[in-house]
């Protein structure tokens, strides 16, 4: 498969299997729903809109985001579904400036690997919860605009942690000891 960009403003579902060594990029403002049994081995790039994982993951064999490729975030959102709440954190790129954006979409998701992009940031959207079980060293801000972000491990960054419930209930839970840097301001706006 050559590199395949999806650049749409609507919701588009790809149910057929995607295979090969190329990459998949979601651009535009729409939602790309991938529901096939995909085996492509290249990277997946979240560059705009939402990319919804809508089929089950079979680790090392197939899954909506292919097999083993790096997941890079430059403006798009990884959106979960009732069909898939896989922990993809071990595949997240640690390159500088990653804009990790996660929509739990009503699901409960936990990440066992740290998010470690220098200058990177994390945005948690959608209802449901995202649990972060280990230490994270991304150095940018953290934003929760819906649902719950549960820090069981730690956030080492000194940038602000903001909870914004303007459009939906949003909460930050600090379950780990010294879960947030002692230099990071916490804000919550209703």
């Amino acid at each position: 498969m050559p590199p395949w960009p999806s650049n749409r403003s609507d919701t588009f579902t790809v149910g057929n299997s995607i295979s090969g060594t190329g990459s998949l990029t979601q651009r535009g403002s729409g939602t790309l729903v991938v529901s096939g049994t995909n085996t492509y081995t290249g990277s997946t790039n979240f560059s705009g809109g939402n990319l919804q994982v809508a089929s089950a993951e079979s680790a090392g064999v197939s899954g909506p985001l292919g097999v083993g490729g790096t997941l890079s975030f430059t403006g798009g959102t990884l959106q979960y579904s009732g069909s898939n709440v896989t922990d993809y954190s071990s595949r997240f790129s640690a390159a500088a400036g990653q804009a990790y954006s996660i929509d739990t979409n009503g699901q409960t998701v936990t990440y066992a690997s740290g998010l470690n992009s220098s200058g990177g940031s994390l945005t948690k959207t959608g209802s449901g919860s995202l649990g972060m079980l280990t230490s994270n060293s991304y150095s940018g801000g953290t934003s929760v605009t819906a649902g719950t972000l549960d820090i069981v491990g730690t956030l080492a960054n000194t940038s602000a942690v903001a909870v914004d419930a303007t459009n939906a209930p949003a909460s930050l839970v600090l379950d780990g000891i010294n879960a947030v840097s002692s230099s990071a301001p916490l804000t919550a706006s209703a």
């Binding site: 010294n178 990071a184 919550a188």
Partner: protein
């Protein structure tokens, strides 16, 4: 909508500025400064210390709240069965309906009515009030 911060373990935080509800449900935590119009809720067995400032919409505490600094802290209302220690600085509130208050030497706690006579919303009761005497001079 409601923005919430929930603390379930020991924390050492720079600041919390909240228009929502901040709940301390476990551990012993220190916060540099509190700000915002939100509610601060402290569970029984939990200790929260404000190092530099404690300005908030309300406090409802069954635990221990320590005010350790801030020249002009203002909290809208203070309720609960817990312990409120004003160890330094000053604290003003519209009402205190609290279990125990201890005011250290050199610290000040003001019920709003005393600053604004005729403020009929200002009420207060304490089950225990402890005022620390001025330390004797050593010179």
């Amino acid at each position: 909508m409601n923005a919430a911060i929930v603390v379930n373990a020991n924390q050492n935080l720079a600041s919390i500025t909240s228009a929502g509800t901040t709940s301390f449900n476990g551990g012993t935590s220190t916060v540099g400064s509190f700000g915002g119009t939100g509610a601060l809720v402290v569970a029984s067995g939990v200790t929260v210390s404000a190092t530099n400032a404690l300005n908030h919409g309300s406090i409802n505490s069954a635990g221990i709240v320590n005010v350790n600094g801030g020249a002009s802290n203002v909290v809208g209302t203070i309720d609960g069965t817990g312990v409120l220690n004003v160890n330094a600085g000053s604290l003003s509130s519209t009402h205190y309906r609290h279990g125990t208050m201890a005011i250290a030497s050199g610290a000040t706690a003001t019920i709003a009515d005393s600053m604004n006579p005729g403020n009929t919303s200002a009420t207060g009761y304490l089950n225990s009030l402890s005022l620390m005497p001025t330390a004797p001079s050593t010179s």
